[in-house]
Symmetry: C2
Subunit: 189 residues, 2 copies
DNA sequence: CTACAAACGCAAATAAATTTGCATTAAGGA
DNA sequence: TCCTTAATGCAAATTTATTTGCGTTTGTAG
């Protein structure tokens, strides 16, 4: 299987092997016990290079987690919001239950810098990692609104679709496709 | 304000100062950059003792986080499930928005060992830290059932009350009392 | 093809964390 | 009160992580 996304530069190449090594370690043993040294050894690159490029393990692991979580699949566009949300929720559920799915979300949470002080004004975009995902949801909702369907606010999708799924991933509760399906329906009820 | 929960033993005394020091550090700078050394210095105890008692920083921080999150307030018992859930949700919201509230949940998530492999069977009890809380909810639901009220399953409370609240805490989204209130109502709808 | 600069590897130096051995203190029971 | 044991402090030893200096490789522009 040819890797399309790996243009020339040596830089990109080493980044690829480093990310692969780090991701493998995260999937295998979780983020907690991983040292910069481990990743370097597994990737076959000098630890020095990792320190120079990413500074510390947390930064590197966070980038890896973001990278994995944002591996974006095209948004469903079935013609009805309900159907769109269903398949989208199922897709997220599948991603979380996949081998090494939830470890990356756990890693992101653990490595992401603490959110700002009060958090009085903004929405979820404080964690930039979720930016792309939120954009996708917004597109889906906008399309529905354009069709004349009643679309829930973005924050509702976060609270009642994303939150239960991710929370279950965090604590290791089962995440079935049926559950994702029900969440979508419940959101539109 | 006298601290009632601090019985004699030197052991308990040092544990208290260590927990206080660790909690203060977590509240101030988050869990990510805290070393065993820092806690020892702040608590005024030898780092050696901390290593001997807790082994490593993660273990200690996790215990501290659990300790804080389980500082149990008595469950509301107003006579109606709806009212109970409302006040209970608001109480959690208040705890999360309080200074240093969400950092402890973030710490727990970051330090808790990765949940078991498949997670096919069980419920949320895999993370033992939530055990007490879940017990409390179960009591509340049982009381309602005993009164003849229709009570939602425990997992629904987790998915639709706890999840949105804690998820918002994780990402730094605003958590208002009104929001908690609405979650309770929505759960019973 | 050549020259340049960024990224890299390696080894040494440094700094920090963690362990270990031993003396001391304090709690609880006889 | 005295004795026993667990917990602690302290300093030294050890390991591990991180930084630094320098020469080498490798893209890329000219």
């Amino acid at each position: 299987m040819p890797r399309s996304t790996r243009p020339g530069g040596r830089t990109a190449r080493t980044k690829a092997v480093v990310f692969e090594a780090a991701a493998a370690l995260v999937a295998e043993q979780g983020h907690e016990a991983i040292a910069m040294t481990d990743i370097a050894a597994r990737a076959g690159v000098a630890a020095t290079s990792l320190y120079r490029r990413w500074g510390d393990v947390r930064t590197l692991l966070m980038e890896v987690a973001v990278d994995r979580l944002n591996a974006d699949s095209p948004m469903p566009n079935t013609g009805s919001l309900r159907s769109d949300l269903r398949t989208w929720a199922r897709r997220i559920a599948a991603g979380l239950t996949a081998p090494g799915g939830s470890p990356f979300f756990r890693t992101l949470v653990a490595t992401a810098p603490a959110p700002g002080p009060a958090a009085t004004g903004g929405d979820m975009e404080r964690i930039t990692a979720f930016g792309p995902r939120l954009q996708q949801i917004a597109v889906m909702l906008d399309r529905a609104a354009a069709r004349g369907e009643a679309a829930p606010p973005l924050m509702d999708v976060i609270d009642h679709l994303l939150a239960p799924l991710y929370m279950r991933a965090l604590v290791g509760a089962p995440i079935s496709a049926a559950f994702a399906h029900d969440l979508a329906d419940r959101l539109l009820a």
